[in-house]
Amino acid sequence: MKERKRLGKYFALLLVIAIIAILPASCFAMSKKDGSIRSGVLTYLGTTESEFQAALDDLRKAVAPLIPTDEERDSWEHEDRLEGFISSLVQTRREVSFFDSLLAMQMALRSRKLDEIVLPECTGLYLINSNSNYDVLFSLNLMPSSISFGFRRNDTALKKEFDGAIAAMKKDGTLSRLESQYISEAGSEPVPVKFQDFKGAQVIKVAVTGDLPPIDFIASDGTPAGYNTAILSEIGKRLKKNVRLISVDAGGRSAALASKRADVVFWYRNSGDLKLPAKANKVNSKAMRNVMKDNLDGVILSSPYYEWDTDLIIGRSN
């Protein structure tokens, strides 16, 4: 009996220690540390949050010499000076959180769990046009990004066909026409496109999330719409294949692709090197290399069909 009581005490003590060990991680997640700014970023598939954070810290060190001293200030050329976000980054460290969906990220911003969120220019503009609670804090021309189609590694034939169609669309101007129709000149919500039906032809299943308007978007009648679907409809027409859209939660995309529930997913990635001012140090850390390269297991990407240089840093209006 005594033995049992003693064991019980040890067990209770162990439980208390375990709870204390777990607490800091869960209680203080996304809490503000040392006055840093909390930034939300859409999950970079292929890298981790801590790696992204390390890369950003390295970037911060690299751009630190770009703050001119008072004597230097007058003699520096315009392009040597820091503008906007980079200047702010030097002054205040960013603490990055990854979000699977724009929706969750937007709610974190609204509820003050985040101070700013980073979005592609077109999505950022869509957000501030639809909701007056948000405003652009900075424009960021640091990292060129793009969207490609992702396929299973062994699906090289399909990738080749898509690459061919994208190249042809670039050449004959279809891509830029659709881009201006659905992105740059899109007044309001995108309209759904019609998909041509090819009897007996192969069906390509494409996973859409509806979470990145106006690129990946689901209209009010529940149909996928937006730039992605317009591109897909055009590719379907050119390849004479049927395209079937399946709507999947952002977190389920990789599983859908790997398990053959979907043949194609949309892949958001960095494309090209960091664009730093001439006076900045080179960032060549392991973390930054990992963030910049596509660390893709089991996925191959088509050539990009939408590229942008500018990301918007968005915060609350007030």
Binding site: E189, A219, D249
Partner: protein
């Protein structure tokens, strides 16, 4: 405000999309409940069986299913077990939720049966009731009464768990709400509306149970 509500609820037939989402949620909940309850009764019978191996098997099943997140199970079933088959996403979701509900129902039933007075069964047996009669006429009605409130909250839980089916390409109420929030960029308002709809559905379930309680009282 009214413009935002219009955008969320009316614009472009949005209410029809919401209705379709409600239908999907109710359909998956109802079907999983029916299959899950039937399977749960079987699992409970195995769990209470005197044959050791059957009872251990049922116990392992209950521990596994109750101890694992239903979203993980759903992803495993849809993208793993049923990946190479022609099973539609909603069928896989129904199977998954039925398996999960069965584990809960089995435990609810076992707890309810254990809570009844075994002395009454013994008394019934001495009065000449068969084993089945003693169970059906003495234990079962009492167990049912004990299990009812817990079963009711299990159904409401099930309704809420189905909100993860968006991960397996089903457009249920939660997914519709998320899509509308992304379209309108008004997540707070949209999610409040979504929650209200779930609340109404939960109260419909409570209402159905309240009616059965009322009818039961009148009958007795």
């Amino acid at each position: 405000m009214s413009e935002i509500l219009y955008k969320i609820l009316i614009q472009g037939g949005s209410y029809l999309t919401i209705w379709r989402g409600v239908q999907a949620t109710v359909y998956i909940t109802l079907m999983s409940l029916i299959f899950g309850t039937l399977l749960g009764i079987c699992v409970c019978a195995l769990r209470m069986s005197r044959v050791k191996i059957l009872s251990v098997f049922a116990n392992v099943y209950i521990t596994l299913l109750r101890g694992s997140p239903v979203l993980m199970l759903l992803m495993l079933m849809y993208y793993g077990v049923f990946a190479g088959t022609d099973f539609e996403a909603d069928s896989v979701a129904i199977v998954t939720f039925a398996l999960n509900v069965a584990a809960h129902v089995a435990e609810i039933l076992r707890a309810a049966i254990s809570a009844t007075d075994h002395g009454q069964v013994e008394a019934a047996r001495t009065l000449g009731f068969s084993k089945f009669q003693a169970f059906y006429l003495v234990t079962f009605p009492q167990a049912l009464r004990i299990a009812k409130p817990v079963y009711q909250s299990a159904i409401v839980n099930l309704l809420q768990w189905t909100s993860v089916v968006g991960y397996v390409s089903i457009t249920d109420l939660t997914r519709v709400i998320n899509n509308i929030a992304s379209r309108t960029m008004q997540p707070m308002m949209t999610i409040v509306i979504g929650m209200l709809i779930y609340l109404v559905l939960a109260y419909v379930i409570h209402g159905i149970f309240a009616i059965t309680d009322y009818l039961g009282v009148r009958k007795s």
